[in-house]
C-alpha cells in the first residue's frame, strides 16, 4: 500500500524520487555476508582451493526401504564438530538434500520447509542407492531422461545430472560452509596489554589453521551494530554458505522479489551488470528502484536454470537474510553463491527437464496457486483512501453512471479509527454494514485492510485480547512485549508462529458474535474481504524498517531465523479466518504484500509501492512474470503507480498492462490526485472503459488459466521460454508473454508516444491480431513483426491453433455476466486445426472440489475439405483417466470437501445451472474458402463469411472470417459443427 513516508512528495512535481539506500544493508554492511563473500574471494584467489567438508563413508546409512540415506559430514576445520547429511528422492524425482549440525551447542532453525511445503512430500519407492568408494549415487527416470544423483564423499559435492550432463551441482566450487555453534571466547587478559604493533605480532605468532577458509578475524560473530541498532547475536555466528552451479545453463530465473529483468543479470564476475548480490530479506522499501538487486517485500528462494536442452531448478528452503551472487563464468554456464545468516541446509533439486516439469515439481512442494474467487480476477478500484462511506457510494455511483465495469472497492488504513484495524472511524464511516451492502447490491465486493501491528492502548480490544492470550512478539529477553512504531503509533505485533493466536485470529473476522465473548467483526459482512499489508513486518523505527533480529518468537526462535516467513504466516491465518466466516466455507480473497514460498496458497500479492513512471510500469511486468514462475501467479502491480500523478497517456497504457496481469488493481497514494477512470477526459475515459470491458470479456480465459495453474502449477502468464523452451532467441524476452494456454500473446506498450510495437513470433505459425484479425506470420527461427499500437490498442495476438472463449456483453460487475452467452473464436493454425479449453464453476464456493464444475475442450480439425469444430467434456475425460478435474488437495482438503478422490458427474449441480448458457457466436479465422454449408447435427446454421487470408496460405493480411450466429444452445453439452 505504501512505504515509509510521504515526506517531500510534491503531488504536482514530476517524480524525481529515490529510495533511501542507507536505510537498508548491502552485503558489506552485514557481517555474515562479508564472511560468506570472503570465502568466495579466498577461493577465487587460491588455485588449490578444496572444500573442507567431506562425507564419512563409514557412517553412511541407507534406510531399510532404500528411499533415503543419512551420513555424517565432517569439516577438516573443526574435526570435533559433527554434521549430519540426509538425502532423499521424492516420487516426482525431486531430490532433497538436508544438512544440520548434530549434537551442537545450539540448534539451527529447521522449520522453514515445514511452513513452505504444502505437505510432506512422498518419497520415491523406486530408488536404489549404490555406494561406491568415492561416492553414493542413484539413477532413476525413464530412458532418454535418466537422472543421476551423485554425492561425492571428499569433498562433499552433490551433483544431479541427466544423460551424463551435469544439470546442477552443490558445493562443486567448495564454498559450502555451515558455521557451527561455538562458545564465545572471552578476551584473555594479557599481561602486556599494550596497544600497537607488539600485540599484533603476538597474535601472529599463533597461526590460525583455519584462516585460509574462515579468515583471520571473527568478523561480527557476537554482536553487530548498524546505524543506531545493535544486534546482540546471543547464538553467535551461524552463517550458511553454498555454491549452486548450473554448468550447462546460460539463463537463471526466479528468486523474486526484485525489480529487475526476468533472466537474472549477473552480480559478480567480470563486467557484472550489478555489483551487489540479490538479497532476500522482506523489506518495506520506500520508493524502490526500478532496476536493482535490493530485497523487496517478499522472498521466494526458488531458482530455475534454463537452456535449450533442459530446465532445472532448486528450492532453498531458508527464511533468514540471504544474499545471492549470480555469475556466468562462461557464455553457457551459470554459477550462484547463496549466503544466509542462519538456518539448516535444506535444498530441493528440481530435475525438470522442461519448464512445465519444474513448475509442477516446485508447486508439488509448496502448493499451486489457490483457485481464487472469480470476482477477484476482475477489476479492483483502490485508493489511499476513500474517505467515507459516502465517498465509497459516490465512487460506485460514478462508475455506474459511466458504465465502467468494476468488481471491488477497497479501503485503505484510514477507515480505522486511529489505525486500530477492525474499528471503524465512525465519523466518516458511520454505517459500514450498510455501505458494504450497498456495494454488494450490484454483486460487488469490498476489500478492507488489516495490518499486523496493533495499537498499544488498552481501549483497543484486539490488542487487549492479544496481550491476554500472550501471543505478541517478544523482545530479545523473550519475556517483554516488543514495542515498535507503525501507522498506529506505538504498536505491538501478533506472533503468528504461536499456534495460540490462530483460533483467536479466526474469531476476529466472524461477522456475528455467536456465543464467543471475544472480539468479532460484527460491523462487517461476508462480502468484505481482506488486504494484509505491512507484514514484512514493516516497523518504522526498527532496523531496516523491520523487527530487530534478536527478537524472540514462539518456540524461542530468533526473528533472524524466520523473518522471511513472517508475512506468509499472516496471510495464511487471515485467509483461513476469512474462509471460516461462513458455513459452508467460501473462497477467501486476501491480498498480501509480504510473502514466501507457499504464499500462493493463501491469495494474491502485489508488487508494493511502485512509482508512476514508465520504468516502473515496464519492470512491473517483469516482476509479475518472475512471480508467476515462482508459483505465485495471482500477482500484479498498482495500475497508475502508487506514487505520482500519471499523465493520461501513461495511465491508459498502464490499464492495458493491468488488463493483462493476473491481479488487476488501480491504487494511488494519499498525496496523489484522484484518477478513477470516470475522471478522465475523453478520449481517455472511453479507452479505459473499453480496456476494462476487454478484461471482463476475457475473464473466461483468465479463469481457465487460473484453473490450470491450480491443477498443475503452470504460470498464469508465461514468458517466451516457457512456451518455446528451445528457442534461444526468446530466453531473455520479458516484455511480451502468453496468457495461460490460451494462445493469447500480449506485448503491453510501456513507452511514451509509441504508435506501434515490435512483437517477436517464435515459430512458423500464423498469429492473428485480436482486434482486426490481421494475420501475421512467424518463422521457425523467429521473426519480429510490427503491430500497430495506437493509444487505444494493446498489441494482442492470437496464436494460430487457439480457441478463445469470451463473453462479449458489458456488465457492471463480473458476477452479473454469469448467464451471458459465450463467443468462441477459433483461430486456425497453419494446418487448419485449433484447440482451446474453458473451465467454469460457481466462482465462490468449494463446490468444484466436489465436482460441481464444467470443463470443456473445443477443437477444430480438418477432415478432407471440411473443418469440424467440436466441444467435448474435458472433466469427464480426465476423470476417466483417473485425474481430478480440479485442484482439491489444498483448501478443498482443509475444508473437508474433495478428499482427493476423483469426483465428477457431468450432470452436476453447477452444470445444470449453466445449461441454458449458450454459444451466441462462433468465429472461425483463416478458413481456406467460403463454406458451402455450416451445419450442426445436419441442420444448417445461420452464418456470414468475409473472405481473406487463409491460415495455411503463408500470406499476411486480414484473415478470412466466418461468423456463425447462435450455433449452440448450451455451453455444457457435446456438439460438432461441420463447415463444409
Amino acid at each position: 500500500m505504501r512505504a515509509l513516508s510521504s515526506l517531500l512528495l510534491l503531488a504536482a512535481a514530476p517524480l524525481a524520487l529515490a529510495v533511501k539506500l542507507e536505510d537498508f544493508k548491502t552485503c558489506d554492511k552485514a557481517a555474515f555476508c562479508r564472511r560468506g563473500k570472503a570465502i568466495a574471494q579466498r577461493a577465487g584467489e587460491n588455485p588449490d582451493w578444496k572444500s573442507p567438508y567431506s562425507v564419512d563413508p563409514s557412517s553412511l546409512a541407507i534406510s531399510s526401504d532404500q528411499t533415503s540415506f543419512t551420513a555424517a559430514v565432517k569439516s577438516s576445520l573443526y574435526p570435533e564438530i559433527n554434521f549430519g547429511l540426509d538425502v532423499r528422492v521424492h516420487k516426482d524425482g525431486v531430490v532433497r538434500v538436508r544438512m544440520d549440525e548434530v549434537n551442537g551447542k545450539g540448534k539451527r532453525y529447521d522449520e522453514a520447509a515445514s511452513w513452505a511445503l504444502v505437505a510432506e512430500p512422498e518419497i520415491s519407492k523406486d530408488i536404489r542407492w549404490t555406494v561406491g568408494k568415492k561416492e553414493v549415487r542413484a539413477t532413476y527416470g525413464p530412458k532418454g531422461n535418466k537422472v543421476d544423483v551423485e554425492i561425492a564423499f571428499n569433498p562433499l559435492v552433490v551433483t544431479l545430472s541427466r544423460n551424463g550432463r551435469t544439470e546442477v551441482a552443490l558445493n562443486s566450487l567448495g564454498l559450502m560452509h555451515m558455521e557451527h555453534f561455538r562458545t564465545k571466547e572471552e578476551p584473555q587478559p594479557t599481561p602486556e596489554a599494550v596497544e600497537g604493533e607488539e600485540s599484533a605480532q603476538t597474535v601472529m605468532e599463533v597461526p590460525n589453521p583455519r584462516s585460509w577458509f574462515e579468515g583471520e578475524e571473527e568478523d561480527g560473530y557476537w554482536e553487530e551494530t548498524w546505524k543506531s541498532w545493535t544486534d546482540s547475536k546471543p547464538k553467535g555466528p551461524q552463517m550458511l554458505s553454498m555454491d549452486i552451479s548450473f554448468p550447462n545453463h546460460e539463463h537463471v530465473y526466479g528468486i523474486p522479489q526484485h525489480a529487475t529483468r526476468l533472466s537474472l543479470p549477473t552480480t559478480s564476475g567480470e563486467d557484472s551488470y550489478y555489483n551487489e548480490p540479490y538479497r532476500l530479506w522482506n523489506s518495506d522499501v520506500f520508493e524502490y528502484m526500478a532496476d536493482s538487486t535490493m530485497s523487496l517485500y517478499g522472498s521466494i528462494p526458488v531458482m530455475y536454470a534454463h537452456s535449450k536442452e533442459s530446465t532445472v531448478g532448486i528450492f532453498n528452503a531458508i527464511a533468514s537474510d540471504t544474499f545471492i551472487d549470480v555469475a556466468h563464468p562462461s557464455a553457457h554456464s551459470s554459477y550462484t553463491h547463496w549466503i544466509s545468516e542462519s538456518g539448516i541446509l535444506d535444498i530441493f533439486l528440481l530435475p525438470g527437464p522442461k519448464p512445465a516439469d519444474v513448475f509442477k515439481q516446485y508447486t508439488g512442494l509448496t502448493g499451486t496457486q489457490e483457485l481464487p474467487p472469480h470476482w477477484s480476477i476482475a477489476y479492483h478500484q483502490c485508493r489511499w483512501n476513500y474517505v467515507s462511506s459516502d465517498d465509497v457510494r459516490t465512487v460506485q455511483r460514478r462508475f455506474d453512471e459511466e458504465n465502467i465495469p468494476v468488481d471491488v472497492f477497497w479501503l485503505d488504513i484510514e477507515y480505522a479509527e486511529e489505525h486500530k484495524y477492525f474499528i471503524w472511524d465512525k465519523k466518516n464511516f458511520p454505517d459500514p454494514v450498510d455501505m458494504a451492502n450497498d456495494v454488494s447490491a450490484v454483486a460487488r465486493k469490498m476489500v478492507v485492510i488489516v495490518d499486523p501491528h496493533l495499537k498499544r492502548v488498552q481501549s483497543y480490544p484486539v490488542y487487549k485480547e492479544a496481550q491476554e492470550l500472550d501471543v505478541l512478539a517478544k523482545t530479545k529477553d523473550g519475556q517483554s512485549e516488543y514495542e515498535g512504531w507503525c501507522w498506529s503509533g506505538s504498536s505491538a505485533w501478533v506472533d503468528f508462529f504461536n499456534p495460540a493466536s490462530w483460533e483467536w485470529w479466526k474469531g476476529l473476522f466472524k461477522t456475528s458474535q455467536g456465543s464467543s465473548d471475544k472480539c468479532a467483526w460484527i460491523e462487517s459482512t461476508t462480502d468484505v474481504h481482506i488486504w494484509n499489508d505491512m507484514n514484512e513486518p514493516a516497523i518504522f523505527n526498527g532496523p531496516e524498517i523491520s523487527m530487530p533480529r534478536d527478537n524472540i518468537h514462539y518456540g524461542g526462535w530468533e526473528h533472524r531465523d524466520l523473518h522471511n516467513l513472517n508475512g506468509m504466516l499472516f496471510s495464511n491465518q487471515t485467509s483461513q479466518a476469512v474462509r471460516a466466516r461462513t458455513d459452508p466455507p467460501m473462497r477467501p480473497f486476501v491480498l498480501t504484500r509480504s510473502f514466501f514460498a507457499g504464499s500462493q496458497r493463501f491469495g494474491a500479492m502485489w508488487t508494493g509501492d511502485n512509482l508512476g513512471t514508465w520504468e516502473h510500469m515496464a519492470v512491473g511486468i517483469k516482476m509479475v512474470l518472475s512471480l508467476n514462475l515462482a508459483g505465485f501467479s495471482f500477482s500484479g502491480s498498482d495500475v497508475g503507480g502508487f506514487f505520482g500523478n500519471p499523465e493520461p497517456e501513461m495511465l491508459v497504457r498502464w490499464y492495458h498492462v493491468g488488463a493483462f496481469t493476473p491481479f488487476f488493481r488501480a491504487h494511488a497514494h494519499i498525496d496523489t490526485k484522484r484518477r478513477e477512470p470516470y475522471l478522465l477526459d475523453e478520449p481517455y475515459k472511453s479507452i479505459v472503459r473499453d480496456i476494462l470491458r476487454l478484461r471482463y470479456s476475457m475473464l473466461p480465459i483468465w479463469y481457465t488459466a487460473f484453473h490450470e495453474s491450480s491443477v498443475n502449477g503452470m504460470p498464469v502468464v508465461r514468458p517466451h521460454f516457457v512456451v518455446f523452451p528451445e528457442d534461444e532467441a526468446g530466453f531473455a524476452i520479458d516484455d511480451q508473454y502468453f496468457v495461460g494456454s490460451s494462445g493469447l500473446l500480449v506485448k503491453p506498450v510501456t513507452e511514451k508516444g509509441a504508435t506501434e510495437a515490435q512483437v517477436y513470433l517464435a515459430d512458423d505459425q500464423v498469429y492473428y491480431d485480436y482486434f482486426t484479425s490481421h494475420a501475421y506470420r512467424g518463422a521457425a527461427k523467429g521473426r519480429n513483426v510490427t503491430v500497430p499500437a495506437p493509444l487505444d490498442r494493446v498489441p494482442l495476438l492470437v496464436r494460430g491453433g487457439a480457441v478463445l472463449p469470451t463473453r462479449e456483453r458489458p456488465r457492471r460487475s463480473s458476477p452479473l455476466m454469469r448467464r451471458d452467452p459465450f463467443t468462441l473464436t477459433v483461430a486456425l493454425d497453419t494446418a487448419g486445426a485449433a484447440r482451446g479449453t474453458l473451465y467454469l464453476d460457481d466462482g465462490e464456493s468449494y463446490g468444484h472440489a466436489a465436482g460441481a464444475l464444467v470443463w470443456r475442450e473445443f477443437t477444430a480439425a480438418r477432415r478432407g475439405r471440411a473443418t469440424h469444430v467440436a466441444s467435448a467434456d474435458l472433466a469427464a475425460a480426465a476423470a476417466a483417466h483417473g485425474q481430478a478435474p480440479t485442484a482439491n488437495a489444498g483448501a478443498g482438503a482443509d475444508v473437508g470437501v474433495g478428499t482427493g478422490a476423483v469426483v465428477y458427474d457431468p450432470q452436476n449441480a453447477f452444470a445444470d445451472e449453466v445449461r441454458a448458457v449458450r454459444v451466441e457466436k462462433l468465429v472461425v479465422l483463416g478458413l481456406e474458402r467460403r463454406p458451402g454449408t455450416v451445419t450442426l447435427g445436419g441442420a444448417e446454421l445461420e452464418w456470414e463469411f468475409v473472405p481473406g487470408v487463409a491460415s495455411g496460405a503463408g500470406k499476411e493480411g486480414a484473415a478470412a472470417r466466418l461468423v456463425v450466429k447462435n450455433p449452440v444452445a448450451s455451453i455444457v453439452g457435446d456438439w460438432e459443427i461441420v463447415i463444409q
Binding site: 515509509l4 513516508s5 510521504s6 515526506l7 517531500l8 512528495l9 510534491l10 503531488a11 504536482a12 474517505v387 467515507s388 459516502d390 465517498d391 458504465n403 465519523k427 466518516n428 454488494s440 447490491a441 450490484v442 454483486a443 512504531w485 507503525c486 501507522w487 498506529s488 503509533g489 518504522f540 523505527n541 494519499i670 498525496d671 496523489t672 490526485k673 484522484r674 470491458r693 462479449e808 456483453r809 458489458p810 456488465r811 457492471r812 452479473l816 455476466m817 454469469r818 448467464r819 452467452p821 445451472e913 449453466v914 445449461r915 441454458a916 448458457v917 449458450r918 451466441e920 457466436k921 450466429k965 447462435n966 444452445a969
Partner: protein, 543 residues
C-alpha cells in the same frame, strides 16, 4: 436494486426469439419497428437489412445495435421500460437481463419474465411523494430566493445612489485638489530658485543619500521579515501536520530545530517523558536573549522611529536648519521674492501673493502675515495631499459601488437575478471531528481547530462551476463554488474548497470531506439555488 437468486430459466433459443419485436423500444421509435413486406427490417442507421425474425432475437446483428432494443445483446444501447402506473425510463443495455431488477424499471421488464415483480404502484407513489416533497421544498426555497432577488434590486438602487453621491463628491474634491495644486505649484515655483541653492548643501545631499539607503534597507528588511514569516508558517505547519509515525529523522530534526528556535514545546514526541517542562523552555528563552547594547534601539522603537524618519520633509528641515543656524534670510521666501520680480510685473505678483496669503492664513497653514512665519510649500503640500486623499476615497467609494453594481447581476458573480448577493459575507460553519470548517460566502473558507490554535485558510472565492459544457448562469453552473489559494500544505498543494450546493430552505454546510490531500469538498444547501418550479419546468420543455 434487489439481488435475485441465480435461477436460470432453461429457455431454448426459440423461446427467446418469441420476445416481442417492440420490446424495450422507446415510444418515439415504435413506428420504426415494423417489418417490410418481405419480412425484413433495416437497422436504424440503414447499414444493414436483416430478417424481421432477427429483431430482438438476443443476437446483435446491426452495427448500431438497433436490432436488439429489448435483450441487451448489443452493447451501448438503451432499453426502454414502460413502467405502467409510473413513468417510463431508459436504462443502459448492459443492465438488461443481468439478473438484477433495476429500480428504474419498476415494471420488471428489464429481466426475463418472472424474475422481477412489478413495483410500479409503490415506486410511483413513493416517487410522487418525493416529488411533492421536493416541490414543496423548492416552493419555500424559491420564495426565499425571491426575497434575495428583491434584496438585490434594492441593493441596486442603493448602489446607484451611492454612485451618484460619490460622483458629486468626486467632482467637488477634484475642484479642491485642482485649486490646491495650482497654489502649490505657484508656491513651489516662487521658492524654487532659493531652494535650489540650499539644496546644494552637502548636508542636504548626505541627508538624501541617508534617506535613500535607509529606505532601501527598510524594504530589504521587510522582504526578509516576510520570508521569515513564510518560513515560520511552513515550519509551524510541518510541526503540527507531520506524521510522527513516518519516523523520518530529517523531518524530526527540522521540527525539533524549529521548536527550539521558536521556543515551542515538543509535540508528537515518541518518548513523552522527554518532553521538557514549560519552565525549562522559558529559561532557554532567557538564555537566548542577546545582551542589549547601548544606543541600540529596541525593535519597537525601531519600528516607530524608522517610518517617521523616512517621512521627514527634508525641504522643511532645510529651511528650519537655515533658521537654526541663523542664515541672513529671516523672512520667508514668499515674502521676499518680490525683490526678484521685475518691476513691470510687480502689481500682478502682489495681487497673487496677497490672495495666496489670505487663503493660506484662512486655512491656518501659515500664521499671520507680517510676523515672518515661513509660508512653507510643505504645508501647502500637506493640504493638497489630504485633499487628494479625500478625492481618492471618494473615487474608491464610487468605483466600489460601480464594481458592486456590475457584479450584482453578473452571472459570474451574484447571478443574473442577483440572487446570491444577499449571501455575500454570510458565514456558515460545520464542526466535524477536531475541526470547525467555516466559509464566508464570496469571501474566505477556513479550517479552525476546535481545540484552539491557528486556523488555516482554505482559500478565497475564485469561481463558479466552469466545467466545460456547462451553460453560464445555469443551475448546474451555480451548483459548485470554488475557493482557491488557501494556505499551502507543507507536502501538498495550496488548500482549496469545492462547495457543492443544492436547493434547500436553509443556508447550511452539510458535510465536509478531504477527498484529496488539502482539497476539500463541502456540501451545502441554500435557497439561492431554488429556482421557481415554473422556470424548471419551462427548461424541461425546451429540452
Amino acid at each position: 436494486m434487489l439481488p435475485v437468486s441465480w435461477i436460470l430459466l432453461a429457455l431454448p433459443v426459440s423461446a427467446l426469439a418469441a420476445v416481442d419485436k417492440a420490446y424495450g423500444v422507446s415510444p418515439s421509435l415504435l413506428e420504426k419497428y415494423t417489418p417490410s413486406s418481405k419480412s425484413t427490417w433495416t437497422c436504424l442507421d440503414g447499414s444493414k437489412e436483416i430478417a424481421w425474425s432477427a429483431v430482438n432475437d438476443d443476437f446483435c446483428d446491426c452495427l448500431d445495435g438497433s436490432d436488439e432494443p429489448g435483450t441487451g445483446a448489443c452493447p451501448n444501447t438503451s432499453f426502454y421500460c414502460t413502467n405502467e402506473g409510473h413513468i417510463g425510463a431508459f436504462i443502459p443495455s448492459s443492465r438488461v437481463n443481468d439478473g438484477l431488477c433495476e429500480s428504474e424499471c419498476c415494471d420488471g421488464s428489464d429481466e426475463r419474465p418472472g424474475v422481477c415483480k412489478s413495483t410500479c404502484k409503490e415506486v410511483g407513489e413513493a416517487y410522487r411523494a418525493k416529488r411533492d416533497a421536493e416541490r414543496k421544498l423548492r416552493k419555500t426555497g424559491s420564495k426565499i430566493r425571491a426575497s434575495y432577488i428583491a434584496f438585490a434590486v434594492k441593493e441596486k438602487k442603493r448602489l446607484e445612489d451611492v454612485v451618484i453621491t460619490s460622483e458629486k463628491e468626486v467632482a467637488a474634491q477634484q475642484r479642491e485638489v485642482n485649486r490646491l495644486k495650482d497654489l502649490v505649484e505657484r508656491t513651489e515655483s516662487l521658492s524654487m530658485a532659493a531652494l535650489e541653492h540650499r539644496k546644494e548643501s552637502p548636508l542636504y545631499r548626505a541627508l538624501l543619500k541617508h534617506h535613500q539607503v535607509l529606505k532601501s534597507l527598510q524594504k530589504e528588511h521587510e522582504k526578509h521579515l516576510e520570508r521569515e514569516k513564510e518560513l515560520g508558517d511552513i515550519l509551524s505547519n510541518l510541526r503540527t501536520g507531520y506524521n510522527p509515525n513516518y519516523q523520518d529523522m530529517a523531518v524530526l530534526e527540522a521540527v525539533r530545530g524549529w521548536e527550539f528556535l521558536a521556543g515551542l514545546p515538543h509535540i508528537n514526541d515518541v518518548h513523552k517523558d522527554d518532553q521538557p517542562t514549560e519552565e525549562e523552555l522559558g529559561s532557554d528563552e532567557v538564555e537566548e536573549e542577546e545582551e542589549e547594547e547601548e544606543d541600540i534601539l529596541t525593535v519597537e522603537e525601531l519600528e516607530e522611529e524608522l517610518p517617521a524618519l523616512l517621512e521627514s520633509d527634508y525641504e522643511s528641515l532645510l529651511i528650519e536648519h537655515d533658521k537654526h543656524v541663523g542664515t541672513p534670510s529671516d523672512e520667508s521666501l514668499l515674502f521676499n521674492v518680490g525683490s526678484y520680480v521685475p518691476d513691470a510685473l510687480l502689481p500682478q505678483f502682489e495681487a497673487v501673493r496677497d490672495g495666496l496669503l489670505t487663503w493660506l492664513r484662512t486655512f491656518g497653514i501659515i500664521k499671520g502675515g507680517s510676523d515672518g512665519e515661513p509660508a512653507d510649500t510643505s504645508r501647502a503640500k500637506q493640504a493638497l495631499s489630504s485633499a487628494e486623499n479625500a478625492l481618492r476615497s471618494a473615487e474608491r467609494e464610487k468605483s466600489n459601488a460601480e464594481q458592486d453594481l456590475s457584479r450584482l447581476f453578473d452571472p459570474k458573480w451574484f447571478g443574473r437575478d442577483g440572487e446570491w448577493k444577499k449571501l455575500q459575507g454570510t458565514c456558515l460553519e460545520k464542526s466535524i471531528g477536531d475541526y470547525t470548517y467555516e466559509v464566508c460566502l464570496f469571501g474566505e473558507a477556513k479550517q479552525k481547530p476546535n481545540s484552539g490554535g491557528t486556523s488555516f485558510s482554505l482559500g478565497h472565492f475564485d469561481r463558479w462551476n466552469d466545467a466545460a459544457g456547462l451553460e453560464l448562469g445555469s443551475p448546474e453552473y451555480y451548483s459548485k463554488q470554488y475557493y482557491a489559494r488557501g494556505t499551502k500544505c507543507w507536502n501538498g498543494p495550496m488548500r482549496s474548497v469545492q462547495l457543492v450546493w443544492t436547493c434547500g430552505t436553509e443556508n447550511a454546510i452539510l458535510s465536509v470531506q478531504e477527498l484529496e490531500k488539502c482539497e476539500y469538498q463541502f456540501t451545502g444547501t441554500t435557497p439561492a439555488l431554488c429556482l421557481p418550479l415554473e422556470d424548471l419546468e419551462k427548461k424541461k420543455d425546451e429540452l
